[in-house]
Amino acid sequence: MDVKRTLFLVEVAIFASFAIVLDLIPFLSFKIWPQGGSVSLAMIPIFLVAFRWGTKGGLLAGLLYGLLQLIIEPHIRHWLQAILEYGVAFAGLGLAGLFAKQARKAISAENSRAFIRNVIMGVLLGCSVRYLAHILAGVVFFKEYAPEGIPVWWYSITYNGTYMLPSFIICTVAVWLLFSRQPRLIKI
């Protein structure tokens, strides 16, 4: 059991740095907005950990990824925004792990339909939580800075949606492709 625990710590850490690496390599991500909110592939390793180790692994990997970003290149505008965008948003991705057990079962039963369903549900849940955190952060930020009468909610929902939707699609396809080509990856 203890050996597994150390392995768990190291693996989660290495996958979090993987996420950062995917952010750093220009070829592998395309940015659509001048500031933040890139459609990058960084979420993929986080989802892989979530499906391998379950919710706990996913949450930890997400949190680590957020902390690493904060150390490497912080974009802080407001303290609450920082907590939401670097803490809650990425840790929230890990909730995909709630579907890990079913996904693993489906893959050993070679039931690809159930497997895809669980992957989509997991990635959707993770992305939704992240989306929600970004929306809230946007509102917090604009409540502080935008004058009265600007529809902050609407603005935040559309702005964040422009990159979250493509990210969701990309991640779902990638996670599904990777695990179906190499089912070994999901088993610990």
Binding site: T6, I14, L28, L63, Y145, E148, G149, I150, L177
Partner: protein, 269 residues
């Protein structure tokens, strides 16, 4: 790829470089909070003096700081423009439909601009003068109280340092795999989305597989050297709280008093 500097640490010997990461982190976070106390030109002036002195003390060229602002400049200008166009009150210079340019709007636009830039400058000072690994130690020390809530602070910071240590290796490896695939004729970033995604699979799979192997080796290595999760660990680098650090905290307290005295409306707005 070697040109890529991880983090923004700038080697130096300044007083800020020598300070304890805990003090810098605390002061940085506190500054971002206390910034919101300022509400008139006198208090903003005091904040600017503080920020500029700190930047000067870091011994890093001013242009490096300006580079930190650049990626955010559109967001800043957008927010400032919104503020100027949609705030009314005071002397009105222009009034077309919902758009009003008033002196209230212009003043709050300027304040918001200052707030933005100062937050960026101060957080840049912290990352420029502190090695990522020291930041990790500092974060670990500051998060210690969370242990009472059963949050595994030690393990998180251990993972943080493992991650930081592996980023350069993984970057190298990713480059190698990408080059290998290029040599086989793969073109990245071409074709429709699905095709682009498919070119990623032959990059991702070997990388994931080798990461998993690496993790296993490392975990075994740690186990054989006696690592036990949850046990108390000693560290090679010890953080030492010096007089400079107390001085830094003292300066923050003085800054707070200065702001409270200078702001309009006194302590309670």
């Amino acid at each position: 790829m070697n040109k890529l500097i991880l983090g923004r640490f700038f080697p130096g010997e300044s007083i800020l470089h020598q300070m304890d990461p805990r003090a810098k982190l605390l002061a940085g976070v506190y500054f971002i909070l206390v910034l919101f106390v300022a509400n008139n030109w006198q208090s903003y002036g005091l904040l600017w003096i503080f920020t500029l002195v700190v930047m000067y003390l870091s011994g890093v060229k001013f242009s490096v700081y300006i580079r930190g602002v650049r990626p955010l400049i559109w967001l800043i200008l957008f927010t400032v423009t919104l503020q100027i166009l949609f705030t009314s009150g005071g002397k009105i210079y222009l009034d077309v439909g919902p758009i009003t340019v008033s002196n209230f709007g212009i003043i709050s636009g300027i304040y918001i601009f200052c707030r933005f830039v100062m937050i960026i400058f101060i957080s840049t000072v912290v990352t420029l003068t502190t090695k990522p690994i020291d930041l990790t130690d500092g974060i670990n020390a500051l998060l210690k109280p969370l242990k009472r809530l059963k949050i595994p602070v030690d393990e998180i910071s251990l993972m943080l340092s493992i991650s930081l240590r592996f980023i350069p290796n993984l970057l190298d490896e990713t480059q190698k795999v990408m080059d290998a695939q290029r040599a086989r004729g793969t073109e990245f970033g071409e074709g429709n989305l699905l095709r682009q995604m498919k070119t990623l699979v032959p990059i991702f799979l070997p990388l994931f597989a080798s990461s998993l192997n690496r993790a296993e080796d490392m975990a075994n290595g740690m186990e054989t050297r006696g690592y036990q999760s949850g046990e108390k660990r000693s560290t090679f680098r010890q953080l030492a709280w010096k007089r400079k650090d107390t001085l830094c905290i003292g300066t923050m307290i003085i800054l707070t008093f200065g702001l409270i005295v200078l702001r309009t409306g006194g302590f309670i707005h």
